[in-house]
Amino acid sequence: MPLLYTQNLRREFGGVIAVADVDIEIFKDSITGLIGPNGAGKTTLFNTITGLDFPTSGHVFFKGEDITELPAYKITRSGIARTFQNIRLFKEMTVFENVMIGRHFRGNHPRIVNNKLVNFILGRIYVKTEEKDIYENSLKWLNFFDLLDMRDEYAKNLPYGKQRELEIARALATEPEILFLDEPAAGMNPQETESLMITIKKIRDMGITIVLIEHDMKLVMNICDKIYVLNYGKKIAEGTPAQVQNNKEVIEAYLGKIDE
């Protein structure tokens, strides 16, 4: 059974159908690509899955449970993290703090008894272990992305590529099972894209399933196990990179119809 799948997911904005009855299946430990021309509904699909937008109809199932109606924060807590196409870091906060916010809700001390009053009184003791956990885990992710020496820098002062990496670090700090990356390589130079590819594979090897929207075909074709192609909100193709590359409809969507 897929880790996450959608059923006839549909999102309309007035008369525009941004996502038209799309079914996708994401399998554990895979890297799934989502491609399509601009305005194909890729980001809207991401938003409806991660709870930032709600579908007009259809369902999203994660680990067998229907998460369609859950608010974004609950979806994140259930194990789905994401990054944004137009980087949404906490700009006036430091690099370290950005990652700490990602860890925010994970830093929970196991409660000894299930009694709100007792736990309220014991709260002060928990706070220490929780904050320690947040601090140390954030350090771990900063180290993974080689951001340690910039940790006290404001996020807005980081170079563009590093901001993208910080956003991934922040998402990973929530300990997701699935990571949704919305155009992670946008605005990166070839070297940065190359190292991003290695990073994404490393994250996959840690047991985190990855779904990504990307326009950089070299990256997509190299690392994805499976690719979905959207056009005008509809799923027009799915399959391995080789299958998708030779699909007539995909070629038409990108290059237009070939006149005979």
């Binding site: 991660t50 709870g51 930032l52 608010p71 974004a72 924060y73 994140t76 807590r77 993290a81 994401r82 944004f84 949404r88 870091l89 906490f90 700009k91 006036e92 906060m93 430091t94 370290f96 703090e97 700490m100 916010i101 990602g102 925010h104 809700f105 994970r106 830093g107 706070v127 220490k128 929780e130 904050e131 320690k132 947040i134 601090y135 954030s138 940790r151 006290d152 922040r170 998402a171 929530t174």
Partner: protein
């Protein structure tokens, strides 16, 4: 003259509690609220009614006033916190006006436009304070200010403060980081309302009377200006801002020239100061102090263990 200086200090203290509360809402969480006077009114009238009609003591009334104000904070918070920026400001503005008008027209409880007079002072160590016992009042109210200051400081330096800052920076990103933004926003709103309720309670007990028109829209704006003038997101600056604004509005009386300068001129002076500040120092006189949460955690959690 000395009496008058003491009086100003008392008002500064009362307004400081309310503006510190507002600073938590506007400065730290980034929600523009224009109904702090409404919460102040709820606190003041609750104390007034409880002490005159129900013959309760001041301290119990004060606590009840605070909680009642925060209850209204929740009530207005839940429906309006879906709104953002200007829209939220307008909704809160409406709430403030509703509170004033309910008080103005609910004759059986609030005595309408006449207000409630003859509120007894608080009793402390067996003696009952009146408005004349100004030094005692200063001590009581400024203890309140200090407690409020440390209360807010604890909140903003904790994990809660970090979440509030994230919400202010980017609410959507915060919610997709697993932060329950509604909970934190309502929490901030409620805490701010609680503090305004306490301030209102002091206001009623010190003046020994309350009148509905005191708590008009101008008062909300004045409290907002106190927070903005000193610097949003900085409790110390908020207290400085409160001092400046209260002084500015009482200056002619303080200098004994109020017979030359009509009271309306206060507002002109007051507006002039604000325009100048907004042009030359929009971040406030002192400005925001950015807390470094990584350092705070390191200092407070790790260094304690050594």
């Amino acid at each position: 003259m000395l009496n008058f200086v003491l009086l100003i200090f008392i008002y500064i203290g009362i307004y400081a509690i309310a503006s510190l509360g507002l600073n938590l809402i506007v400065g730290y969480t980034g929600l523009l609220s224009l109904c702090q006077a409404g919460f102040l009114a709820i606190g003041a009238y609750t104390t007034a009614v409880l002490m005159t009609a129900c013959h309760m003591g001041f301290w119990e009334s004060m606590i009840i006033s605070g909680f009642l104000a925060s209850l209204f904070g929740i009530l207005i918070g839940i429906p309006t916190l879906r709104l953002k920026g200007d829209y939220l400001a307008i909704a809160t503005l409406g709430f403030g006006e509703i509170v004033k008008n309910v008080i103005l027209n609910w004759d059986s409880v609030t005595k309408g436009p006449m207000g409630i007079n003859g509120i007894p002072g608080p009793s402390i160590f067996g003696t009952t304070l009146s408005s004349m016992d100004k030094p005692e009042w200063i001590v009581i109210i400024w203890v309140g200010v200090v407690v409020t200051y440390y209360f807010i400081r604890r909140i903003v330096r904790s994990r809660i403060g970090r979440a509030l800052e994230a919400i202010r920076e980017d609410e959507i990103a915060a919610s997709s980081m697993g932060i329950n933004t509604a909970k934190y926003k309502i929490g901030a709103f409620t805490t701010g309302a609680f503090l305004a309720g306490i301030a209102g309670s002091f206001f009623a007990a010190f003046n020994q009377s309350v009148a509905p028109l005191t708590f008009d829209f101008m008062m909300s704006i004045m409290i907002l200006c106190m927070a903005v003038l000193g610097g949003l997101g900085n409790s110390f600056a908020t207290i400085i801002g409160t001092i400046i604004i209260v002084l500015a509005s009482e200056l002619p009386r303080l200098l004994g020239i109020s017979h030359i300068i009509p009271p309306q001129l206060n507002q002109i002076l007051f507006g002039f100061i604000l325009v100048l500040i907004m042009i030359y120092r929009p971040q406030g006189i002192i400005g925001r102090i950015k807390l470094n949460y990584a350092k705070i955690v390191k200092e407070e959690i790790f260094d304690l263990e050594k």
